[in-house]
């Protein structure tokens, strides 16, 4: 076997008698959406399970899993030196794995007989995930995920010849074609079942049947029920450099992401990465492969040289499938190993903990017999929910102190609340990017605080909404010097920091998490604002090149906070021959001017109010910043969008599209960025960036000129010298301004805070055990379940000591609370339902539940901001509860909206940014 590797374990069998429970997926608590995360997913650097396979077996070996290579094969000479390395083949989850190619030939473009130019016409690599148990089986190709891009805006542009998106020939995909060759898709059977009886899905289109089972004229593509451009991981073309090497990242999908493949489900841990190299010879005998013709209209013949690579890689009517390379992928079991009768405890807060919790949680379940259901939400919301007894434990990076709370009721309540805080993880915010030119990826990017500020304040042309209608007017509100910068790399400051990027003339799509906030975002703003040149720039001082901030981000009333006004016709509004300006700028919620440099935000505002196009011609309405550069709803999704290079901006007018209101004509997406012309920049966390194989920028230390540091283990460790006291002695946070030397300035400590006053004895014991485990065995770096994943560094010994004493204090605390009145300890409803009697929480919980629920109708009578801080005020806003009459408007808005966010999932995302707009931290 020409497979080199250091270790290989046998695929794991079915572990334990555990039932799949959506432990992480507790019903809609989150303000940032729910994260169903598969445990154990790791990074894309070479791991101990890396595998290298030659297209031809090394001399004296056999290539297991690979088809026999015939020297008579037309492509033999082109492929004989081809080698492929896959960076990780074990403990695979929903992640990206890096595939490196050597010994190939550079990708070439070509023009077909119709005059259309294809950039990836010859010499490229295709990749897909297949689930079949036997890679040499005749129907193995039917188990491959392929064909999901035969739809609108598939993101391929004119890279490969279009019939590469199909499972069958273009001729045969048509439902009316007689005697068509079909390559159906065989979905993976449910866990443990055999494939017998599984209905395959046609790879062709079909006529929709009417009520009488007669075909109508409507054509459907049934495969789309299984896979489509937004979900599929098939790679139509990975480009090869002129030196014959190439690198791309493949998104592996577990059964959670792709149930139709079932990878990682019980008894089915092994799936396959299948690579199909495409050379220069035509591999079809007739148009059941591809209908390509030469410029004389003569059909391509088998083996024709210098041929555009038409035809599906999995279609047996073409010969391409015989050239495949098959690499086993061993998945981590999906789902949770939490027992259904575990006690459940809800924990909330920081997005920085998503990856860590995914790894820790299965170990917590098995060792502590407790299911810690984690829902990420904005740290600031988590702090309020903690004080308002809506959760017993919250993760955050800034202390739960009066200065972090918005309303007086919460501040008052804080005084009567006892908290205990422990450090639990050290992660970091990163500026991740993918920059892929025709010569491959760029792998180093330096950013200064001011460059980041320019991106975040929409001060470049490419960050404000525009289209080709009247681009110059779209940019007219930007300062003159900014209008000269057409590409990111034309900013002299960028060039100085990144001399190797001088010619990368592609502009980035910016993917920012939001609109919900996060302490990790606040750290980014702290880093920017502690830099004197960035701070003065944000205040309106131009840089050396004259570039200054977008007027929409200046405080209202600033002399430059004005933009040209336009008439509905698209012309400049003029009065007495003079152009008319509109006053703009940031304002606090009370209308006073807001200075961005003095407001520590935990969000990324999108303040530019420009609408495009100025003149409505065929377009029926305009679009603005949020449609031009939409938010990603979480750090994790920002990373995934960056990996897929799909900014999802809708800026192309499609006159045929029917919009939501039923009218014809709408803005549509221009699709994902094309291979070889990608540039995305995303703000995310180190763990997500690692999971999706994104590059991360080196950030310049505040007020330095020379120190650029990346978010690696060394950088994060060195940053701990910047730990600074906060208003809570238990919480020290890294102050980006205090980080020196080789420290990474956005390193962030995450703390768990437990509301002791609101928790009963069993809950406190559970929280203490939780903290004990995650701060001891959970701090061992590694990819196994329960360990600390890539993207974090272990706690320092001082922090570990602090965590241990906090855990001891929590378990020793004598609650004063009436256990019946405390709400968030979810002493397992499932236990109650199942009739199991594990756990001590049950005895006093069951009757209490009904009692509290019954009493909730009395809620309006209880002054919510009253003195009895820890009574059952918040308890149960059941669906039939009448709206409470608020004692104080602040309290009402605070509590009811938060309760909504607890119960209603997304509503929190809507409320959060509104609630906390204009909050100050000074």
């Amino acid at each position: 076997m020409a497979v080199k590797k250091t270790t290989r374990r046998a695929p794991r069998g079915l572990a334990l008698l555990m039932v799949r429970v959506g432990c992480l997926a507790v019903a809609g608590i989150s303000a940032v959406g729910l994260f169903v995360v598969v445990p154990g997913a790791t990074a894309t650097g070479a791991t101990s399970s890396a595998v290298t396979v030659g297209w031809v077996a090394a001399s004296g070996t056999t290539n297991s899993d690979q088809p026999v290579r015939d020297t008579g094969n037309a492509e033999y000479d082109g492929f004989k030196n081809l080698q492929v390395s896959v960076a990780q083949t074990e403990d695979i989850g929903d992640q990206a794995v890096r595939v490196s190619i050597t010994g190939f030939t550079g990708t070439r473009g070509a023009i077909d007989a119709g005059g259309t130019q294809y950039t990836d016409a010859m010499n490229f690599m295709q990749a897909m995930q297949c689930w079949g148990p036997d890679p040499s089986a005749a129907n193995f190709n039917q188990t491959c995920q392929w064909g999901g891009r035969f739809v609108d805006n598939n993101g391929l542009g004119n890279s490969v010849y279009p019939d590469n998106t199909l499972r069958v020939a273009l001729r045969d995909v048509a439902p009316e074609t007689k005697n068509a060759v079909d390559v159906p898709f065989l979905p993976a059977p449910a866990a443990g079942n055999s494939t017998v009886g599984i209905t395959s899905v046609t790879g062709r289109q079909a006529f929709k049947l009417d009520a009488g089972n007669k075909p109508t004229k409507t054509v459907t593509y049934p495969l789309l029920d299984y896979t489509n451009p937004a979900t599929t991981n098939e790679v139509q073309s990975a480009r090869i450099n002129r030196d014959g090497t190439g690198v791309f990242d493949f998104e592996t999908q577990s059964a959670e992401q792709a149930p139709q493949l079932g990878c990682g489900s019980a008894g089915h841990l092994r799936c396959w990465l299948v690579l199909v190299p495409r050379g220069t010879k035509y591999g079809g005998h007739d148009d059941s492969c591809s209908g390509l013709v030469d410029n004389n209209g003569v059909a391509y013949t088998f083996g024709r040289a210098q041929s555009i690579q038409g035809g599906s890689p999995i279609n047996p009517a073409c010969s391409y499938w015989n050239n495949r390379m098959t690499i086993p992928l061993d998945f981590t079991p999906v789902g949770s190993t939490c027992a259904p009768d575990n006690t459940q405890r809800r924990v909330i807060g920081s997005q920085l903990l998503i990856a860590a919790m995914a790894s820790w949680q299965p170990a917590l379940c098995s060792k502590l017999s407790t299911t810690y259901s984690f829902a990420a939400n904005p740290d600031s919301v988590a702090r309020l929910q903690l004080i308002e007894n809506q959760a017993g434990l919250a993760f955050g990076s800034f202390p739960v102190v009066a200065g972090e709370l918005d309303n007086d009721a919460d501040k008052a309540k804080l005084k009567t609340t006892t908290l205990s805080t422990a450090p639990v993880a050290i992660g970091s915010t990163v500026v991740a990017y993918v920059a892929e030119g025709s010569d491959g990826r760029l792998n180093s990017l330096n950013l200064s605080p001011r460059l980041m500020a320019k991106l975040l304040t929409q001060s470049y042309e490419f960050t404000v909404p525009w289209n080709s209608s009247e681009p110059q007017k779209n940019f007219a509100h930007l300062p003159t010097a900014n209008q000269k910068i057409l590409y990111f790399n034309q900013d002299p400051e960028f060039r100085e920091l990144n001399p190797n990027w001088a010619q990368f003339t592609t502009n980035p799509a910016l993917m920012l998490p939001g609109p919900a906030g996060a302490d990790a975002i606040r750290q980014l703003w702290r880093w920017i604002l502690a830099d004197s040149e960035a701070k003065t720039w944000i205040d309106g001082t131009p840089d050396k090149a004259g570039i200054s901030v977008n007027p929409f981000y200046l405080p209202a009333g600033n002399i430059n906070a004005q933009v040209p006004e336009f008439l509905p016709s698209g012309d400049y509004k003029m009065v007495d021959g003079k152009q008319v300006y509109r006053q703009v700028g940031l304002k606090h919620i009370d209308g006073t001017p807001e200075k961005l440099s003095e407001t520590l935000l935990d969000t990324f505002p999108k303040a530019d109010e420009s609408l495009v196009p100025l003149t409505l011609n065929v377009e029926k309405y305009r679009f603005g910043t949020l449609q031009y550069g939409p938010y990603s709803d979480s750090f994790n999704n920002a990373a995934r969008s960056a990996f897929r290079a799909d900014p999802n901006s809708k800026t192309v007018w499609d006159p045929a599209k029917v919009n939501a209101a039923g009218d014809v004509g709408d803005w549509v997406s221009s699709g994902a960025q094309s291979p070889g012309q990608k540039f995305v920049i995303a703000v995310t966390d180190a763990a997500s960036a690692s999971r999706y194989s994104l590059n991360t920028a080196a950030l310049r230390l505040d007020n330095s000129t020379t120190s650029f540091v990346k978010a690696d283990t060394a950088g994060m460790t060195a940053a701990l010298s910047g730990l600074t006291a906060t208003a809570d002695p238990a919480v020290k946070q890294i102050d980006p301004a205090q980080v020196t030397g080789s420290g990474y300035p956005l390193t962030t400590v995450v703390y768990a805070t437990v509301n002791l006053s609101a928790s009963d004895k069993p809950a406190l014991a559970d929280y203490a055990a939780f903290i004990k485990q995650i701060t001891v065995s959970g701090q061992v770096a590694g990819t196994a379940v329960g360990q600390l994943p890539i993207g974090y560094i272990p706690l320092t010994s001082a922090m570990a000591t602090q965590a241990a004493s906090a855990a001891a204090a929590i378990s020793a605390y004598q609650p004063t609370v009436d256990p019946a009145a405390q709400q968030p300890s979810e002493a397992t409803t499932s236990a109650t339902q199942s009739g199991a009697t594990t756990g001590y929480a049950q005895d006093d919980y069951s009757p209490a539940t009904s009692k509290v629920a019954g009493s909730s109708t009395a809620l309006p009578a209880v002054p919510s901001a009253g003195g009895a801080g820890n009574t059952a005020v918040i308890t149960a806003l059941t669906t039939d509860t009448p709206k409470p009459t608020p004692a104080a408007p602040d309290a009402f808005w605070g509590q009811s909206s938060l309760a909504l966010s607890l119960g209603g999932g997304l509503s929190g995302a809507i409320f959060a940014p509104l609630l906390f707009r204009g909050r100050r931290f000074s």
Binding site: G114, G115, N154, T177, V298, T506
Partner: protein, 363 residues
């Protein structure tokens, strides 16, 4: 069918008008109101003239202009409806005419059965996958850039490629001009002239084709490219008015507009001051072999595209007239080579091919 006196009159009118102003002329090439043919077609303005000309040779064809005001009625007793403007709209209207769901309307009008073919200057889009429509190629067009004849704008520019994006200084290529990294040229007086790259209106076949040719998309095109508030009309040279202006231009249209006097149907001369450029040293137009004074498209021009008539796939087997008109190299359209050349297009070897270019309904 057109009556010859009318034709002559309209030709005269065209000359006179062309000398005076460039305002749009009324559509003179539509079939006479109240007369109908077996196959009615709508869509692209790039190939409306050649198909209008074709209708004078092939009696089954009735071709309706893309622009020209007023509604059209294409079948006896059929509803009058708005003209579909351009390739994309033509195919959308054909989809509405086929009306697979029984509920489709064209601009709120039921046009079921009113359209038999759509003219398209671009091949099927991957945005509308499927096979229910067949794009039948019948001729080749080529596209080059046009600049103002009075300017010193370089007349020979290569297309350029993404691989050159990393070369300093940016090579003077069409790609770099439309990416806005080549933003000026130096005129004969050594003055720097700022380039204004023009694009035809959104949705036009020429715009899509041009961006594709340059390896660009709507998302990656440069921010100096403009369609002047979506007002730049395809094949209208009057927009190329400044010394720094550059725009894509169909060579076939350029020739047909130049030939307009001799053509059997009305072709509006609207080339203005536009002059065609060479691409990598290759001329767009060559003398017609074996003639004196005649010109035709250079069949070896590197930037070319097929032009198509789009029909419902199912009717290729069920409708003998449709088949005889469009399908195969011996079809009426494909055998009328002279008409194709007269209107500036080049004949192609796979004229009438019905197996390669397919699409789903676009509306």
């Amino acid at each position: 069918m057109l009556n010859k006196n009318k034709l002559r009159l309209s030709a005269v009118a065209a000359i006179v008008t062309a000398g005076v102003a460039f305002s749009a002329l009324p559509a003179m090439a539509d079939p006479t109101a109240g007369t109908f043919a077996a196959l009615s077609g709508v869509g692209s303005d790039t190939i409306q003239d050649v198909m209008n000309g074709m209708s004078t040779k092939v009696s089954a064809i009735a071709s309706y202009d893309a622009t020209g005001g007023g509604t059209i009625q294409t079948k006896a007793g059929g509803n009058a409806f708005n003209r579909p403007v351009g390739s994309g709209n033509g195919v959308a209207a054909l989809s509405d005419s086929i009306n697979s769901t029984g509920t489709k309307l064209w601009n709120s009008v039921d046009i079921t059965g009113q359209i038999d073919f759509a003219r398209s200057s671009s091949g099927p889009s991957s945005s509308f996958p499927g096979t229910v429509l067949t794009y039948i190629p019948f001729a080749q067009d080529a596209v080059t850039f046009a600049v103002n004849s009075g300017s010193d704008f370089p007349r020979d520019i290569p297309v350029g490629a993404a691989a050159q994006d990393s070369i300093t200084p940016a090579p003077f290529t069409l790609r770099n001009i439309y990416r806005c990294v080549a933003t000026t040229y130096t005129d004969n007086d050594s003055n720097s002239v700022t380039i204004r790259p023009l694009l035809p209106q959104t949705g036009s076949g020429t715009r899509k084709f041009w961006l594709t040719t340059l390896g660009l998309t709507e998302a990656t095109k440069g921010s100096c490219d403009t369609d002047l508030a979506n007002s730049v009309i395809e094949h209208d040279g009057t927009y190329v008015s400044g010394a720094g202006d550059i725009a894509p231009f169909s060579i076939a249209q350029y020739l047909a507009q130049g030939n307009h006097v001799a053509l059997p149907t009305t072709v509006v001369e609207r080339r203005g001051q536009a002059q065609l450029g060479f691409i990598s040293g290759i001329k767009p137009i060559i003398p017609t072999p074996g003639t004196t004074g005649g010109t035709e498209m250079n069949p070896n021009f590197p930037v070319f595209r097929n032009v198509y008539n789009v029909v419902e796939t199912a009717r290729l087997t069920s409708d003998a007239t449709l088949q005889a008109t469009f399908s195969g190299p011996t079809s009426s359209v494909c055998t009328n080579v002279n008409t194709i050349k007269q209107y500036g297009f080049a004949p192609i070897a796979n004229c009438g091919n019905t197996t390669i270019y397919k699409s789903g309904y676009t509306a």
